[in-house]
Every structure is written in structure tokens, then in C-alpha cells.
């Protein structure tokens, strides 16, 4: 009689490819934002393949050299800056800087921060207090200040260094997020159940704890990537990001500031690119988070 059983209904719904089901649920703004992100990622990756774009000085683009401070037009879609460089080309290359830095931050944050955070949240005790003390110290440096110091004193300011420094600085906040999550997950009964079965601690960490920390961490990564792009923008604006002539959106805005009275376009376009990219990341990130909270509320 023990087998008085509930039936599990198989989902009768037609299984559409997950990507289409996913997109179908998006509001139109989010679709737009997601498309924009895809566009700039593609543009960045394939930038070198577009004829004329590979010129490090961004002088000629598609339709040849331009004059200084040209307005938007057919030969240079977004116009040229005060060094007669094509703005569209520079924006595409600037995207490369922004995205690389964001990627580095997310990667280092998720991998190292995620691991350390999950570890100390799971084992607690002395390891926990030590690691968190270090994290607190790094966080007590105001981000930008520490960055300024490190970047300047390193002397070299190419993309690798910038990405590495920002990536390193991203570890502590991820550690915090991961630890908080791992703490609450470790209190859940399935972790106790795993221990009661006799699973080794290391296996529990990798199989039970980390998979449950990751989704939260990835949702955080979306928002964090936006913050990092803003940070790189601010650094570049101060002249502390990648060294010219490599273009970066912040550098472009700063350079255009001088001639604001004459020609606003060189300031407008990179600003728009920056704002819209960050907005898209926030928008898609928020949407993913909402999706997740709906799902976890259904649990």
C-alpha cells in the first residue's frame, strides 16, 4: 500500500529549441539590448577583417582619408575627429578594449573569486576569516584610487596590463558574493545529506556547493561587467587606461572635450556607445535575474 503514488505528468508542451523559447519570453527592449551586445561583440571580433579598419591610426576607413572634424556623412558614417580619424573605426576598436577588460574582470572574478568564496563559505573557520580579512583590505582601497596607483606605477599601459589589474581587483567582490551564497547553501540540508552519505568534502564542494553558487555569480557578472566598462571608461577619460593611439571610448570622449564648441559629434558617439553598451548589459542582466527569481520562487 506504500506505493500509493502521485503521477508525474510528462510535459506535453511541444519542445521548441531552447533559444527560441528563451527569446520569446524577452520584452522587446531586452531583445534590442541583446542584439546590440551581439553586434558589438561581432564587430570587435571581426574588426581586423574589415578593409581599412586595421590601420592603427584609423585614418582611412572604407572611403579613404577624411578631413579634420568632419560631420557624419557618407564617406565617414559617424564623421571624423580632430585628428581626422574615422570615429566609427575608433569606436569599434574602443569596444575591443571595453569588452576585453570586462571579460577579464568577469573571468577572474568568477574563477578565482567564485572558487575562494565557495571554499571559505563552505569550510568556514580560520580559512574563512583570513581570506575575508584580505578581501576587506582590498575593498577598503577605493577601487579607482588603487587602480590609478597600480596602473601608473606599473609604467606600461597596454591592454594586457589594464585587463590584468582590473581583473585582479574584481576578485574580492566576487569572493564576497560567492561566500555569502556558499554560506547559505552549506546550511541547506542537501549538503548535510551528502555528508551523511559519506561524500568527501572536496566532492561536496565541487558537486553540491559550487553548482548552486554559479548561477548567482553569473547574474552578478552581468551587472559587474557593466560597472567594469564604466570604470574603464572613467580611467580612459582620465588618461590612465590603454596608451594612445589605441582607442578607448573614454579616451575619445576626453579628446573631444577640447573641441566641444566646434564639433560635438566626436564626444557624442563614443558616449552613446558606452552608455548603450552598459545599459544593454544592465538590461539583459536584470532580465536574467528576474527570470531566475521567478524560477526559484516556484521551487
Amino acid at each position: 500500500m506504500g506505493a500509493a503514488v502521485d503521477t508525474v505528468e510528462p510535459t506535453a508542451a511541444v519542445r521548441r529549441p531552447w533559444i527560441r523559447r528563451f527569446v520569446a519570453k524577452m520584452p522587446w527592449t531586452t531583445r534590442f539590448c541583446a542584439s546590440w551586445l551581439i553586434v558589438i561583440v561581432t564587430a570587435t571580433v571581426f574588426a581586423d577583417l574589415i578593409p581599412g579598419l586595421a590601420d592603427p591610426n584609423y585614418q582611412g576607413f572604407l572611403f579613404g582619408d577624411g578631413a579634420t572634424n568632419e560631420g557624419p556623412g557618407l564617406s565617414h558614417f559617424l564623421g571624423t575627429d580632430n585628428n581626422s580619424r574615422d570615429i566609427l573605426a575608433r569606436i569599434v576598436y574602443g569596444a575591443r578594449v571595453s569588452l576585453t577588460v570586462a571579460l577579464a574582470a568577469v573571468f577572474m572574478g568568477v574563477v578565482f573569486g567564485g572558487f575562494f568564496g565557495s571554499l571559505v563559505g563552505f569550510v568556514r573557520g580560520k580559512t574563512d576569516s583570513t581570506v575575508m580579512a584580505v578581501v576587506d583590505v582590498i575593498l577598503a582601497f577605493p577601487g579607482l584610487v588603487l587602480l590609478l596607483t597600480v596602473v601608473t606605477l606599473l609604467g606600461r599601459r597596454d591592454l594586457v596590463v589594464i585587463a590584468a589589474v582590473i581583473g585582479f581587483l574584481s576578485i574580492p567582490p566576487y569572493t564576497r558574493v560567492a561566500r555569502a551564497n556558499a554560506l547559505s547553501i552549506s546550511r541547506r540540508e542537501f549538503v548535510t545529506a551528502a555528508r551523511a552519505i559519506g561524500t568527501k568534502k572536496r566532492t561536496i564542494l565541487f558537486r553540491e556547493v559550487i553548482p548552486n553558487v554559479l548561477p548567482t555569480l553569473l547574474a552578478y557578472a552581468m551587472v559587474n561587467a557593466a560597472v567594469i566598462i564604466l570604470l574603464e571608461g572613467a580611467l580612459a577619460f582620465l588618461g590612465l587606461s590603454v596608451e594612445p593611439p589605441t582607442s578607448s571610448w573614454g579616451t575619445m570622449v576626453n579628446a573631444a572635450r577640447v573641441d566641444l564648441q566646434i564639433n560635438v559629434w566626436p564626444a557624442v558617439w563614443p558616449s552613446l556607445a558606452l552608455v548603450f553598451t552598459v545599459y544593454s548589459l544592465n538590461n539583459v542582466g536584470d532580465w536574467l535575474r528576474r527570470l531566475r527569481s521567478v524560477r526559484s520562487a516556484a521551487l
Binding site: V145, T149, A234, F237, Y279
Partner: protein
Amino acid sequence: MATLLAVSFLTFLLVNLLPGDAINALIPIEAQQDQEYVAQVRAEWGLDDPMLVRYGKWLGDAVRGDLGDSIVTSRAVSGEIAHRIPVTGELMIVTVVFSVLMAVPLGVVSAYREGSRIDQFISGSAQFALSVPGFVAGLLFIYVFAMKLGWFPATGWTRISNSISGNLMTVTLPALSLSVIEVAVYARVVRSDLVATLKEDYILSAKSKGLKDGFILFRHALRPSSLTLITVVGLNIGLLLGGTVVVEFLFALPGLGKRLLDAIFQRDFMMVQGITVFVAMVYVVVNTLVDVVYLVVDPRIRKAD
């Protein structure tokens, strides 16, 4: 306290270990031919001592409020900091006060009418504002309000002691530029927290007592929600300090951030060190204050401690 000590030591370590010999800042390259002179200057600045010894000396002075002298201007670092605090301090206070005053009503309206058009509008705007960095907002404000309309000066600073109205004119645009993101952050925090609070049983219970919505909103719901706001404001101080660097640079304000930037470009390591430690101290103090406020506002924590 331990955090501060660690911060100061790390700063010291960073500043001293990384390339870029301080001697370059002290003596022009041409003059460095004179080995004897260089050695003399090195001894004078204590550059020959082992790093730990120098750190010990510096720390001993620092606890007495002496952060050393700038190696570029030879003026006391602490004096320079004190001289520039009013600018950065005013900028930050105006920004935080203005942002909170703007954000709380927006967040409350948005949460109270969750899902309505007004909520969608406020939430959407906040999401957008969150994406506008200070330098873009600042540049926009300069272009519109200073260049086109001419209402405010584009750059510069008037001290309060010189002219109150002039001071207000110069603080408005920088503070506004910083506020764009801050308002968005706070409004989102207030909204999401209030939305959760309004779903609590005790709100339903207050409603079942026949209390008016406004009363419930402000007496019952807002207080628990304000706890998160306080925390976020505290944590954001660090980011805001970074933001002031950018805005001070853009508006050419004689603040701490601008000084730090200059010091970095000049390799004025004493100055960099002093300002960083000072800023870290502000951060730690603010967050301690947040904990204290928390203790006052939330009786549950008071008991647990």
C-alpha cells in the same frame, strides 16, 4: 583598525616596489649626473633605509597626523589634504543628500504602484541612468547648461568663504553629474526593498487594522527598507570617491581627487600614499558609522550583540 594598517602597508609596498625611482621626481634628470648630490638627496629623504624601516618611520609620524611632505612641492601632505577636503567633502555631501532626497520618493512611488506605468517609467529611467557615467553626464551638463545656456560656469570652484551663491553655482553641475548614477542606485534599492517589505505579513496585518496606506507606507514599511539604503550609501562612498576624481578632473575643481591625479602624474609618492591612506580611512570610518546607525535603527541587531 587592522584594515587601515594593512591598507597603509600595502600602499607603502606598492608605491615603493613598483618601478619609477622617486629620485626622478626629486632631481631633474640632468642633475642626476652628480652622484654625490643624488646620494645626499637620497639620504635626506631616507630612501636608502630598508623599506620596513621607512614604513615604520612613516607610520610613527602618520599616527600623529604627520603624513610626510610632498616630494614635489615640499609642503606637508596632511596640510594639502586638509586644504582640499572642503571641496571634495562638499561635493560628496551635496551629492549624497541630493541623491537620497530624490531617490526615496521615486523608489517609494515606484514600489507602491508596482507594475504600473509610473513604476515602469521610473524603473526604466533608473536602469538607463545607471548606465551614464559621471564624465558623460558632466560633459552633457557642461555643453547644455554652461556652453549653450550659460547658466553655470563650466569649470572652476568658488569657496564658500568667498561667496555662498558663487559656491552654489560651482557645486551644482559637478554634484548633478555624480548624482545621476547615485539616484538610480538608491531608487532601485529603495524600490526593490520596499516591494519585498510590502509583501510581508505585518503589512497585511497593519492593513487589516484599518490603517491608511500612506501611514503603513511611511511608518511600517519604509523603516525596515531604509536599512538597506543606509548600507548601500555606505558601501557606495568608495565608488563615489572614485567618481569625484573624474568630476574634479572634468570641472577642474581643486579637490582631493584632482590632487591625487596630479600626484600620480608627478610620481609624488608621499602624496599618493597620504591621500590613499586618508581615503581608505574615510571609507572605513563611514562603514563603521553605518554599522552604528544600523545598531540604532534595528532593535534585532541590538539584542543579538
